[in-house]
């Protein structure tokens, strides 16, 4: 199984969870690698979430709180779960409905 197939399997698994609206995998430069959303939304999510993750990583580092492992944003529409992996140069974003 090549890496693209593996990514698609992971996305399909996450998408099968209840309430999941979309899954985006992006690199740390904000370029989307894989997604099940439309191209425009994918580009927006990847760019804005990467920017937020960059700031969160800086904040955690500045506060000497170790490393950032997970971010959750609670919104009126649901939740945005963000799992950054700077080592792998990847960020996994899951959009969930409430």
């Amino acid at each position: 199984m090549n890496s693209q197939d593996r990514i698609q399997t992971i996305i399909a698994k996450l998408k099968a969870q209840e309430g999941v609206r979309g899954v985006v995998i992006t690199n740390m430069e904000g370029l989307p690698l894989s997604s099940d959303l439309d191209p425009e939304t994918t580009e927006n999510v990847a760019a804005i979430i990467t920017s937020l993750v960059g700031k969160a990583i800086d904040a955690v580092e500045e506060l000497k709180e170790g490393t950032l492992s997970f971010l959750t944003l609670d919104t009126t529409k649901g939740q945005i779960n963000i799992a950054p992996s700077p080592k792998e140069d990847l960020i996994l974003v899951v959009l969930k409905s409430s």
């Binding site: 992006t26 430069e29 904000g30 370029l31 989307p32 760019a47 804005i48 990467t50």
Partner: protein
Amino acid sequence: MSDPKVFDRILTDIIRQDKGVKKVILVDKTGLTIANVSKLSYYAVDTDSIGAIASAVFCASEEQGKNLQIGELEIVTSEFSEGKIFASACGKGVLCVVTEAEVNIGLIRLVMKKQGVQLAEELDKFLAVEPLAPSKDELDEEDLKSALEELERV
């Protein structure tokens, strides 16, 4: 005609989006600089030449796209070991963004696309030539004929 300060405001908005953005230049498609902003006042670069080259590179890529029939060119990204240069179309102009090597490419692309629309509108207004309406005092055909007759008599 639009206020040239509008360009400075939009370019400043772009430079504030990411800490890695060092310079933003707006040029027309002939390579003439219309506006530019820098993050650091001591960032000494020849803005005019950078803008002109960015415009030339963009127009060359655009031509290549036309020859290959692969649609309209949106963004040209040049990656260097210590920085990046982005150039995108904005109506009659080219928006050029100079950044550090470590920058959120996705965000820069997004900002350039969003602000590009606004810049294109402002550029259209800025470069618009007011059509010359014939003034009431202008000579009509009859006047010209009579003047010509008078000249012939002389």
